[in-house]
């Protein structure tokens, strides 16, 4: 028994020293190798008198476990130290730049179209489209603008033929005509897209974007028109209150017609929508003219409703503080980077239009 205690005491003190991994392994062999001190003790169990055997064996096992555990923890400690020393040497300057990445952007007009679609989606509008090249009938005549109508002067039209029969659409309104000719009422659509007028200066571009709206049913009146636009403008500018003014105007394809102004003021050089006593014209609208409905074979005594047209680029300028319309189409990478949107910023109803 004292033999076991000696071994224990001797090796515990040995293991207290600073040891290398090799020395630990040596000790391990010395104790638990084939002829190790502890192994040898186990071999003696058989020769121990029966009365002491149990006590001896239990004592031996206890010492064996104690030493084994000590060896394990000691070797772990040494290994840990070694790794730590190695890692110290591997330290890098993590302030060095990461591997390069590039970031793409979505154009503010595309983002605005998605915002508009999201807002109108909530109140049941679906999206329709039409071609950029239109015939004279869809763009003008069907919209109650015959060729002698002075309103045609307000549209500086790009023509593709000498007879002025094919043109680049001057507004998105021909989509109304296409939609109503294609389907049966009721209609509840918006139609965003490119539009063209041969006009080019600081505030006019020969190409710009509009969104058309059309809602035709049996009972749609000017109150619904006002409600729809009031809702849209509030949602779009993400404000709780909006100052909006409906003002009589004239478009050949609506009667009665209105232009809509919103209140604004300039604070610290920035435009604030919905406050102030200045008015800004942002869209044209009205009740679809019975002549237009007749042209698309919809009975105006049964169906009625409203249409509107909004300049998308202008809305984007107002919302995002962009001053120069021409820059939209100049493709300057600095501008695109500055005003563009992260592709992950998809405008949605649940997440909000913008971050």
């Amino acid at each position: 028994m004292s033999e076991i205690k000696n071994i224990r005491d001797q090796f515990i003190s040995k293991l207290e020293n600073d040891l290398s991994i090799d020395q630990i392994n040596e000790i391990k062999t010395e104790l638990f190798g084939k002829n190790g001190l502890i192994s040898s003790q186990f071999k003696t169990i058989g020769s121990i008198p029966e009365t002491d055997r149990k006590k001896f064996a239990s004592k031996l096992n206890q010492v064996k476990d104690e030493l084994q555990n000590l060896i394990t923890s000691k070797s772990r400690e040494i290994e840990g130290k070694k790794i730590n020393e190695k890692l110290k040497k591997e330290k890098v300057d993590i302030t060095l730049p990461e591997r390069p990445f590039v970031r793409g952007k979505v154009h503010p007009v595309s983002q605005t179209i998605d915002e508009i679609s999201s807002i109108f989606s909530e109140i049941g509008f679906s999206v329709e489209e039409g071609p950029d090249v239109e015939n004279e009938y869809n763009n003008f005549t069907a919209l109650n603008t015959p060729d002698n109508h002075p309103a045609r002067d307000m549209h500086d039209t790009f023509y593709l033929d000498e007879n002025k029969e094919v043109l680049l659409r001057t507004h998105t309104s021909p989509v109304q005509i296409r939609t109503m000719l294609k389907d049966k009422p009721p209609f509840k659509i918006i139609a965003p897209g490119r539009t063209y007028r041969s006009d080019s200066d600081q505030t006019h571009a020969p190409m710009f974007h509009q969104v058309e709206g059309l809602h035709i049913d049996t009972n749609i009146n000017m109150g619904h028109l006002k409600g729809c636009l009031n809702y849209f403008i509030k949602e779009f500018f993400e404000v709780k209150k909006i100052k909006m003014r409906f003002r009589p105007s004239h478009f050949p394809f609506t009667e009665p017609s209105a232009e809509v102004d919103i209140g604004y003021e300039i604070k610290d050089g920035k435009i604030i929508i919905g406050e102030g006593d200045k008015w800004l014209e942002i869209l044209g609208c009205g009740m679809v003219h019975p002549n237009v409905l007749r042209n698309v074979k919809v009975d105006p005594s049964k169906y009625q409703g409203y249409a509107f047209g909004i300049g998308i680029d202008r809305l984007a300028m107002l919302k995002y503080g962009i001053n120069d319309l021409r820059a939209f189409f100049d493709c300057d990478y600095r501008w695109l980077n500055h005003f563009g949107f992260d592709p992950l910023d998809v405008p949605t109803n649940y997440r909000g239009l913008s971050r």
């Binding site: 109140i123 049941g124 002698n148 023509y159 020969p206 009146n221 105007s249 004239h250 232009e259």
Partner: protein, 802 residues
């Protein structure tokens, strides 16, 4: 349309302040565009007398004048006018005054070393006439006692510029505006007090409207005023015209202008002595010529409505008069014309000859057909009053009489359209004040439309009048219902938005460029497509519709590179055109990438952007959009604007139905010709219309989930194969052996050169073999191995490398 509140008060009894007027005008649809104070600063301008003139010491053409500006003050003014002379009464503008014509502010200035205190003004500089030759000469009899006093008599009221919509010709006259205001409760319309001509004298110049097809003149009223003395207009008339920014010319011209603006009745005054025999209103014959009052010569086509005499064309009816018969200061006998011309005819002629005049603007919108006599009465009496003379009877020739329009109006239609109610009493008041005559029938009114309202033809127009006058603010807001019965976007539109954001997420900046482009650029990319020309482009650089988005993107890429950025990816999603008819367009996603990857990186090796970068962008985008990459089929037939060896096209499947995309390096010749300064330029085009829409929705696309946990084994093969054989063929030969066993194929090396025969290449492929049903034995694996080698060798002529 320019008006002043003062002028409005000629027709309107009203006491409200001007700001209330402005509000009301906008509220009833007569939008106030701007408001300007014309009289501001005009009190600076003083009547002055030149005391002495001397030649300027340093300039032959200039004079130094001593000018008496009143209050015993003498100012030295340098003046270049030939008529500046001692004793002349003229208009002096001191430093600080703003010259009306060019809005420039005068300062004390040294002109060739002589200091000039102010300026002597010409009539043109004062916006009084076009006379710019010399300074204003004032008559001594009127102005001798006024030296030092303000030249402009009284401050006029603000100039209000209204934007009148094309449907409202009646509001191109001050009276029409006054009528609208009175209907809206703003003041009361004063009754007309004009006298009627009661003369026994016959109008002796014969007028004839020829009866022919498309005769543009429907009636022609005239009145002859003999023995007049044309003169300068009296001050009140001058002031009136000046107050709305017009220049007085002579009494007769000023009177016709005044009547036109006052009651929207265009008139024309002829010097009757210059008319040969009589007036014939007829269609022109091709080649006829005349000189118009704008001093331009016009050559006419067939069928334009002309006023003519025996000698030929006098003027274009309702558009512009001619110089041959114009009135002048020595005109003795005046023929006044007050006619009605068909808007369509006016518009056609004016457009063809590109003439825009006040009269044309009014006639093409529609003039009150019953105002012919009113205009003649008003103008003739004014001429008599100012110029003297004798008025003849009115002569009216017509080929068509005006018919009164009658509209049935059911009051309940109003609420149906507007969503709110007004009383029948209120309706009647509004309509009567607007000039309608009402007759009540059982359920509806029979309305007789006033002759000055050509825009009102049906019931809805009556609703518009009522809601406009009663006020749009009365329309109640009906909040929209949040309900959706149809999908917002259809599958194509969803795909559009998906591709847009997918490409942007790969580092591309989205551009939006014109749908038209410069043919110089477009020619490089149009291939066999038809060039679509714009007949009236903004400039020749924007003369054609784009056949490819590259036409624009390449140009803008080049501009950006010139701005100093070296590595850039841009894209656009939008239309390209392959014909001039509606619908002959496709939607394309087009991307362009220039420069290097990892330029100046401390950690990564830099290299040029290459065809496999752009291939990854295209394939990844298509995969993200829901297409199966395993089915894609590629070949190297790409358009000529790509590098012939480094470009390709992608089909969604082996059937090669429609090209899904092209990708590759842009042809080096093009980058060279267009001088694009970059190391490499690679691009792609994805054809949205060629992508088959997956019919399955996302929820149906998720198939049963099954994975294999049996051991997998990776085997490497190296084949030596003819260079012409594509790796795609090798891979598809392997993958087709057993789709259940071969779970992955990876190409990990391609090598040409030493140890490989000429025209051959070595392709190393790693194949993962795994069964869904069992652990494969060595035997199974060996069998599959052999099958792979055998199949590839048979199908492609490759040899396994030993």
């Amino acid at each position: 349309m320019k008006i002043t509140y003062d002028w409005l008060k000629d027709h309107l009894k009203v006491s409200a302040k001007e700001d209330k007027l402005l509000e009301k005008l906008t509220d009833i649809g007569l939008e106030v565009e701007s408001i300007e104070n014309l009289s501001e600063g005009l009190d600076f301008f003083r009547v002055a007398k030149i005391i002495k003139t001397e030649k300027h010491p340093n300039a032959d053409r200039l004079k130094v004048c001593d000018v008496d500006v009143g209050n015993k003050e003498i100012k030295k003014v340098v003046c270049g006018a030939a008529n500046a002379r001692e004793g002349l009464l003229t208009v002096y503008a001191p430093p600080g005054a703003i010259i009306p014509k060019n809005k420039s502010k005068l300062v004390v200035a040294k002109i060739r070393d002589v200091t000039s205190y102010g300026m002597l003004c010409s009539e043109s500089e004062l916006n009084l006439s076009d006379e710019s030759d010399g300074i204003t000469e004032l008559s001594p009899s009127k102005y001798a006692k006024n030296v030092g006093k303000s030249y402009f008599s009284k401050p006029s009221s603000n100039l209000i510029d209204l934007s009148i919509t094309p449907n409202r010709p009646d509001c191109l006259g001050v009276r029409g505006i006054a009528r609208d205001l009175s209907a809206a409760g703003f003041g009361n319309l004063k009754p007309v007090k004009d006298k009627k001509i009661k003369s026994n004298k016959k109008q002796t110049l014969k007028v004839k409207i020829t009866k022919e097809k498309n005769q543009g003149c429907l009636s022609f009223g005239s009145c002859l005023i003999t023995s007049v003395k044309n003169t300068e207009s009296p001050q009140w008339l001058k002031d009136k015209l000046i107050s709305i920014g017009q220049k007085p010319i002579s009494a007769i011209v000023d009177i016709t202008n005044y009547v036109m603006i006052d009651i929207n009745r265009p008139l024309h005054a002829y010097d009757a002595d210059k008319i040969d025999k009589g007036i014939i209103v007829r269609n022109s014959k091709s080649g006829e010529k005349f000189t118009a009052l704008d001093n331009k010569n016009y050559k006419l086509d067939d069928g334009m409505c002309v006023i003519s005499d025996n000698k030929g064309v006098l003027g274009l009816g309702g558009i512009i008069g001619g110089t041959r018969s114009g009135t002048e200061l020595d005109t003795k006998n005046v023929l006044l014309e007050s006619a009605y011309f068909d808007p369509r005819s006016i518009r056609k002629t004016a457009k063809k000859l590109n003439i825009d005049t006040d009269a044309k603007f009014r006639f093409e919108r529609g003039i009150d057909q019953l105002s012919i006599e009113d205009g003649l009465n008003k103008a003739a009496f004014l001429i008599k009053e100012i110029c003297g003379g004798e008025i003849s009877k009115i002569d009216i020739q017509k080929i068509e009489s005006y018919k009164n329009k009658i509209i049935k109006f059911e009051p309940k239609t109003f609420e149906k359209i507007t969503g709110f109610k007004i009383s029948i009493k209120e309706m009647i008041i509004i309509l009567e004040k607007l000039g309608f005559k009402l007759k009540k029938e059982k359920k509806f009114f029979k309305l007789s439309v006033p002759s000055w309202r050509p825009d009102i033809v049906q019931e809805i127009d009556i609703v518009e009048e009522l809601v406009r006058i009663s006020g749009y603010e009365k329309i109640k807001i009906e909040s929209p219902i949040k309900e959706r019965s149809k999908n917002t976007l259809n599958p194509t539109q969803k795909l559009f938005h998906f591709l847009q954001r997918s490409v942007a997420s790969k580092g591309y900046l989205e551009a939006i460029t014109w749908s038209f482009t410069d043919s110089k650029y477009n020619d490089h990319f149009k291939e066999a497509k038809k060039e679509v020309k714009i007949v009236n482009p903004i400039s020749s650089e924007l003369g054609v519709l784009r056949n490819s988005i590259f036409s624009n993107l390449v140009m803008y890429m080049s501009k950006n590179l010139d701005r100093g950025i070296k590595d850039l990816s841009i894209f656009e999603i939008g239309p390209i055109f392959y014909g001039p008819q509606p619908g002959e367009q496709n939607t394309v996603v087009c991307g362009l990438s220039a420069g290097k990857k990892s330029r100046l990186s401390w950690i990564e090796k830099e290299r040029n952007v290459d065809v496999f970068d752009i291939k990854r962008d295209v394939i990844q985008t298509l995969v993200e959009a829901g297409y199966n990459a395993e089915k894609f089929y590629l070949d190297d037939e790409s358009p000529n604007y790509y590098h012939p060896g480094k470009s390709g096209r992608i089909f969604l499947n082996k059937e090669k139905d429609k090209v899904a995309a092209y990708f590759g390096e842009i042809h080096p010749n093009i980058t060279k010709t267009l001088d694009i300064k970059t190391e490499t330029l690679v691009g792609f085009e994805i054809f949205l219309d060629n992508l088959k829409l997956t019919k399955k929705s996302l929820k149906d696309k998720k198939t049963k989930y099954s994975v294999s946990d049996f051991q997998k084994s990776e085997r490497d093969f190296a084949f030596i194969v003819d260079k012409k054989i594509s790796v795609q063929d090798l891979v598809s030969a392997i993958s087709n052996i057993d789709k259940n066993l071969i779970s992955n194929i990876k190409v990990f090396d391609v090598y040409e050169g030493d140890n490989i025969p000429e025209n051959q290449k070595s392709v190393a492929i790693s194949v993962t073999i795994q069964s869904l049903e069992k652990t494969l034995t060595d035997n199974d694996l060996e069998k599959t191995n052999n099958l792979i080698i055998e199949t590839v060798e048979n199908k492609t002529g490759a040899k396994i490398r030993s």
